[in-house]
Symmetry: C2
Subunit: 183 residues, 2 copies
DNA sequence: CACTTTGTTCAAAAAAACTTGAACAAATTA
DNA sequence: TAATTTGTTCAAGTTTTTTTGAACAAAGTG
């Protein structure tokens, strides 16, 4: 769950080799992706772009991370969909190049939009279905129990819906510089 | 990702058979567990307990859900650890019985405590390690870039830390009854 | 003590998730 | 048009995660 081959020691400004600190950052994002339920390769790709000032092509991503074409293609697409990377086209160059979005509010916003919102939406339908199953019940006590449960679930659903805008808002605050890197 | 065998039609107050609506609720939690990165069986177990008024023993959980001893044992332990179920002992009965915690703030709090907090803690160490790798860099431009990235990561870390208390707080508000089940 | 009940552990099996790479398509160039 | 570059798709392979069930421990019972 860690791992990578070694990198260059004397850190010249090489952009086609991974620096040691970059490997560590990439590994950080690998783990983060994992715990957000995203494939590790997405984390690696984002981590790499996060480290770089210059945009990278899909090919460069593949080679630097030693991942397959398929992973790179799918990963970059998904990350763009999430709003975590965006693509740029250098004039007179046919290929797409990618850069990382580093504004936390954008990252969080995209993640919530793509992951949380759909779940909440599906939830509405599921709750309706459960409701109708419960309404069909003959036994009064069981129906009462069912109704109570449906109320609880509806309440949760409502609360989660109320929460999301706050999260986006709170994370948005002071997305700017951290004060000082106090070691 | 759905599935279950059928249940009783004429819903008498049977507590050793799954009602159709209960199957639907269990399936809801199965999916929810999944998208929170927890094993499906945890979701099933929680969902079952959520539906019931009476506490259930591990054996009853196993039989009702048709899952193995191992899954039931591990699942119940993990859920208790998360604060999502608690155990009760009926007097004069040796075996442990379980009930679901239904207060959303408790559920969210437990989840954040067990899943988010540890990640943030590990993050501190990782950031330190990255910092030191960056400090070792010879190349001035690369070091500058590294420092900038470290600052960004530190800022994110700080923001996530600030966010969690708010989440617990906002979810806590009005954990009581939903107003009306408006179909 | 022998026997039953309750619950844990963990190696092996099964299932799910992720990655790979070859085949394909589209656009560009010679 | 043939050859090249860039990127997508997806079946098959690999890795990781989850589940199972047999062996074991602990505690009560007769």
């Amino acid at each position: 769950m860690t791992a990578f081959s070694v990198a260059n020691i004397s850190s010249s400004n090489q952009i086609d080799i991974l620096d040691e600190w970059e490997i560590a950052v990439i590994d950080l994002f690998l783990n983060a992706a994992n715990s957000f339920g995203l494939p590790k390769s997405y984390g690696q790709i984002y981590g790499l772009l996060f480290c770089r000032d210059q945009s990278l092509s899909m090919n460069e991503v593949m080679k630097l991370l030693e991942i397959s074409k398929g992973s790179a293609s799918q990963g970059l697409r998904a990350l763009r969909q999430l709003g975590a990377v965006s693509s740029v086209f250098e004039p007179g160059d046919r290929k797409e190049r990618f850069v990382a979005e580093i504004r936390l509010r954008k990252l969080v916003g995209g993640f919530l939009r793509e992951q949380a919102d759909p779940h909440l939406d599906k939830g509405v339908g599921r709750l309706k279905q459960i409701k109708s199953l419960i309404n069909d019940l003959e036994d009064v006590d069981v129906r009462k129990r069912g109704i109570r449960r449906h109320e609880i679930l509806s309440g949760w659903h409502r609360q989660m819906s109320r929460l999301l805008p706050w999260v986006k808002m709170i994370v948005g605050k002071s997305d700017r510089l951290p004060q000082k890197s106090s070691d």
